[in-house]
Symmetry: C2
Subunit: 291 residues, 2 copies
């Protein structure tokens, strides 16, 4: 049993999926999920997501040996601040936020002696939200990034134990610094999400009738723009500098290709062919196959 007593703070898509995954694989001795929203608690209860489902942290949470904060990015540091003073020696606090450096900066200095802090980011999600969309197999086949607050933290038994938990959910675990994580994810996720929202905004400029002519490309390129606004406002703001840098790169690449289109520059063909070959190579990855 990797952890005897696990508490998950937040029963949204990630928290509820984690609870279901731990329960299905019997990876937690006793599991409690905390969510202040009665509708979320009802959905969690209906899915039998945990041994206990409570509206606020209670003694079972404070006695847990693993507490996972699965809250929106802006809520993680406040939740950690209120939980940390009450956790016992040997406890591990983990968060699963999509931005790491600001969370690590806010939380790490508050971690008391004897308590470990493991910042984590399982690279899963999508446009769905809430416990009704949760799935025990949400994590399988994907990457989970751990970002140790200090260099060397990642080598210790606490991080190894946390990494083993994610590996038990069939994830590949990677160790990165918080800043490297935020820079990489700005490029691979956050800026692309901003582009997806912008594509919806541009489509809206064409009037209501235009969407009628939107087919598979637009459907797939805007899928994640259906995600909750507050969640993405949080991520964009928390990772502001890296998102701006990554989005500027996307803008520059669109501009570069568009200039070739406008000029009828036939180097465009070699560019498109090279990019298509790279995309097809990525399709060989698990989960990336053409559908």
């Amino acid at each position: 049993m990797p952890y005897e007593r696990v508490a998950v703070i937040g029963g949204g898509l990630i928290g509820a999926s984690l609870a279901l995954a731990l329960g299905t694989r019997r990876l937690a001795g006793r599991l409690v999920v905390v969510d202040p929203d009665p509708a979320a608690r009802a959905a969690l209860a209906e899915r039998r997501a945990a041994d206990a489902i409570v509206p606020a942290p209670d003694d079972a949470v404070f006695a847990a040996d693993l507490v996972v904060i699965a809250a929106p990015v802006s809520a993680i540091a406040p939740a950690a601040a209120s939980l940390l003073p009450r956790l016992g020696p040997g406890a591990t606090l983990m968060d699963v936020g999509s931005v790491k450096a600001p969370i690590v900066a806010a939380v790490a200095p508050r971690v008391p002696p004897g308590v470990a802090f493991v910042p984590a980011h399982p690279l899963v999600g999508g446009e769905r939200a809430g416990p009704a969309a949760a799935a025990a197999d949400l994590f399988a086949g994907h990457v989970c990034v751990l970002t140790p607050p200090a260099p060397g933290d990642g080598d210790g038994p606490t991080f190894r134990r946390a990494a083993d938990l994610w590996r038990a959910l069939d994830m590949t675990v990677e160790i990165m610094t918080p800043a490297a994580h935020d820079s990489a994810l700005a490029r691979t996720s956050h800026a692309p999400h901003l582009v997806a929202f912008a594509l919806m905004a541009a489509l809206g400029r064409g009037g209501d009738g235009l969407a009628r002519y939107a087919a598979g490309a637009m459907r797939d390129m805007t899928r994640v723009a259906a995600a909750p606004g507050p969640l993405w406002r949080d991520i964009f703001f928390a990772n502001r500098a890296a998102v701006v840098e990554a989005a500027e790169e996307v803008l520059a690449e669109i501009r570069r290709l568009l200039d070739q289109v406008a000029a009828g520059d036939d180097r465009l063909l070699a560019e498109l062919t090279r990019l298509a070959a790279r995309r097809r190579a990525l399709a060989d990855r698990p989960g990336w196959a053409a559908r």
Copy 2:
């Protein structure tokens, strides 16, 4: 039987799928597919896509009452120019190119008396290519746009007969001017494709390791960037002015949202929430459901 003798010029994804769809539903008395590529002909033969599969237009093609040119955009006008003088009275020439105004401008003046020209664009496709990826149900549930060369052409029996053929494949038929089609498709398809290629280019700036952290959003947003380079070079160049205009709108929308991110402008939340609601409303369309 909508047409007695049908010839499809080009056995790629669209041409082969059309042949399979017509054959499966017995919508053509006799069906011939023309493709100069021996490998394509072998794939078409293996899939039993037509009654005859030939390397070049022959008497069966010239005697057809419906000839469909399913070639890359840059090859359509040359193919039409060589076919038109040899088609008999009562024949209909159709093309299925993704750009309409330049094709109509090049082909319509060459259409001899007694022959009809029906420019069509079934809004289907994707990143797959070639007859091996063809499917008889490729068209079902999607829109097919017909762009009459002259106002009023769309009201005649020739266009009604062509429209009925696409409807028999479970498509919704829309009549638009060639220019309106090209402007709409630049926004709903061509500019988004350019963005997909640009996202691949931006990902490449980050080095080979970065793709490891690309999850579902990048997968779906770059899916169509795996499409053949020559096909998209053709479309971008043929629809240059409209693609530039549409891509400038996307650039402006990315810039607008990015400025709000950079400034920490909390109007961003209302924007994202509004755009997400619009995207979720689109998800109610057939084929657009969240996956």
